[in-house]
């Protein structure tokens, strides 16, 4: 159902680095699950409306009243590497 190259491609899309043994396990397990799930791929469901949400809701409006936001210090309190009131992350470019 799903091969090694596809697993590595999907892992890259998901920003997951898999160890070598995880790749092997993932190929087997995902294939087994997809085989089961594939039953729905075979169904003729032309004309059936997809359900993305079960509660029929229209737009929910509220008055545009300003309320206090999360203070900056609180938002940064859990940051692994805060600096100058901002979140610091490594450069996207390799050194």
């Amino acid at each position: 159902m799903i091969d090694r190259d596809q697993v590595l491609h999907v892992a890259r899309l998901a920003r997951l680095r898999l160890a070598e043994e995880e790749v092997e396990t993932m190929v087997g397990e995902l294939s087994g699950i997809l085989e089961h799930v594939d039953r729905i791929g075979q169904l003729d469901l032309d004309g059936v409306e997809p359900t993305s949400h079960v509660v029929a809701l229209e737009n929910v409006w509220r008055e545009d009243e300003p309320t206090p936001s999360l203070p900056r210090e609180a938002a940064l309190a859990n940051a692994p590497d805060p600096q100058d009131g901002a979140f610091r992350a490594p450069s996207p470019q390799a050194e």
Binding site: V10, E22, V55, P90
Partner: protein, 487 residues
């Protein structure tokens, strides 16, 4: 005076209101009980009260309640059972917890769970599995396994859980307590760490149906912070119905394979009891329900893969590989922060949403979801409720299904369709049964589902049936939370 830890939430709140029971002593007694946790049910327990959140007014006045570790709570460690959130101290509090406190309830502790609520056995927690208080060699179910074990094991009078595909009902069933998944939208999801946003719903795990009603009544309602929350317009009150006359219970013809003999026996006996109370049993068809697991294991992982993209080591939680470039940091953080099941679901969801596969998987699954919801609509035109066993088996042994993800997923066979349809469903303990492999008797849950927002009607029927079954009275000698069996 009776052992205060044997009081239900309703009884304790009434005694505290009448000043027959000291709220401070009652809370201290529960703190001692929770501190003696040998089931790994808690990830955090409340310190000595400091005066904060301590008013006694309200329907839950003075009653301590355990909260699944998926609800962010300001200043209280919240991990969702994941290594990636180790040490996280949320800067705000979930609406469900805020409402609990506004009703006079107190947070007794945060309960262990499958990582990000993904699992049916609680073996996917990064902080170790929870043990079933009926048999410590067995699982409590999941993902709200810590909440179920805490209530069943006499470590909390009641608990909050979340249910995405059965995560309240299945552990309640495996632990011999009541678990209610309300209609999608009944309770705010604000501050509930997201797994699959179109399915996640908060609900109570309690010793009886009355307590489930009491907790639901305190929590339900529209919340400006969750635009999908609508509340239960008619409200919720304590149920009082004594019979089931005039009510029709639909039994779907579903594949019987995989249902344990003992579970089937208890289920059949419960149908007889319904008839004894004047209810009518009718066969119904839910032709698409058997596709529920397939649709669910596309939709839930797809939503999860999107929701869990936020754990990237930038704003909160654990960071690894910070000396490399950004991609290296993302990949290291997620590789080390997530457990095997979470990675599996992220992979599954990312694959299902990826270019070329979207229509075949996600699109089809959304259409199956429509069909499943239509099946229930059709059923409810003829019957008042749909009933099934909650779980195909009683509690299974630790490690029995960890090597086979698909076998684990099939635990949710009876609970997933209601989640996909967004309708309310409750599991009540209906009896005890010997597992297929032999051994001591274990609890069997009976699931009752009702149309959207018909919670009051559901609770009334469950209450009448619970009273007739008399589980907590009949099995007092073996119920773990009963005083003589505790500890």
């Amino acid at each position: 005076m009776a052992d205060p830890l044997e009081l239900t939430v309703a009884e304790a709140a009434a005694e505290i209101a009448a000043t027959e029971l000291s709220a401070a002593e009652y809370f201290a007694a529960w703190r001692r009980a929770a501190a003696g946790d040998e089931l790994n049910a808690y990830l955090w327990t409340a310190p000595e009260p400091n005066g904060e959140h301590e008013h006694l007014e309200g329907s839950l006045g003075g009653v301590p309640i355990a909260v699944k570790d998926i609800f962010v709570t300001r200043g209280v460690p919240t991990t969702a059972g994941s290594r990636i959130l180790e040490g996280y101290l949320p800067p705000y509090t979930a609406t469900a917890v805020r409402r609990l406190r506004e009703a006079g309830g107190r947070v007794l502790g945060k309960t262990n769970m499958d990582e990000f609520a993904m699992g049916s056995s609680n073996e996917n927690s990064a902080y170790g599995p929870v043990l079933n208080p009926w048999d410590r060699g067995r699982v409590p179910g999941g993902s709200s396994g810590g909440s179920a074990a805490a209530v069943a094991g006499g470590l909390a009078p009641a608990a909050l859980g979340t249910d995405t595909g059965g995560s309240i009902r299945q552990p309640a069933s495996l632990c011999g307590i009541v678990g209610l998944k309300p209609t999608y939208g009944a309770i705010s999801r604000y501050g509930m760490i997201a797994f699959a946003s179109s399915l996640d719903q908060c609900g109570p795990l309690t010793r009886d149906v009355t307590d489930a009603a009491l907790v639901l009544a305190a929590l339900q309602g529209r919340d400006a912070c969750d635009s999908t929350s609508v509340g239960i317009e008619a409200g919720v009150v304590a149920p009082s119905r004594e019979d089931l006359s005039g009510l029709r219970f639909g039994v779907p013809q579903l594949a019987e394979e995989g249902v344990e003999a003992g579970v089937r026996e208890v289920f059949e006996a419960t149908l007889k009891r319904i008839e004894g109370l004047g209810g009518e049993i009718a066969e119904i068809e839910l032709p698409n329900s058997e596709l529920g697991i397939s649709a669910y294991y596309v939709l839930a992982p797809a939503e999860a893969s999107s929701n869990l993209a936020r754990y990237d080591g930038v704003r909160y939680g654990v960071r690894r590989g910070g000396d490399g470039d950004l991609l290296e940091m993302y990949e290291s953080t997620r590789a080390e922060g997530f457990g095997a099941e979470v990675k599996r679901r992220i992979m599954l969801g990312t694959y299902a949403l990826s270019s070329g596969y979207y229509e075949a998987y996600y699109g089809q699954a959304q259409k199956v979801r429509t069909r499943i919801a239509e099946d229930f609509d059709n059923a409810f035109a003829a019957v008042d409720f749909v009933v099934t066993p909650t779980s195909p088996s009683v509690a299974f042994e630790l490690g029995a299904k960890t090597a086979d993800p698909l076998a684990m997923y099939l635990n949710d066979f009876f609970t997933v369709p209601m989640s996909l349809a967004g309708i309310p469903a409750i599991s009540i303990p209906a009896g005890l049964a010997v597992p297929d492999g032999g051994g001591a008797e274990l609890p069997v849950g009976f699931q009752i589902a009702a149309p959207a927002f018909a919670e009051q009607k559901l609770l009334e029927a469950a209450f009448a049936l619970e009273t007739a079954i008399g589980f907590n009275r009949e099995h007092a000698a073996s119920i773990p939370w009963k005083g003589a069996n505790r500890g």
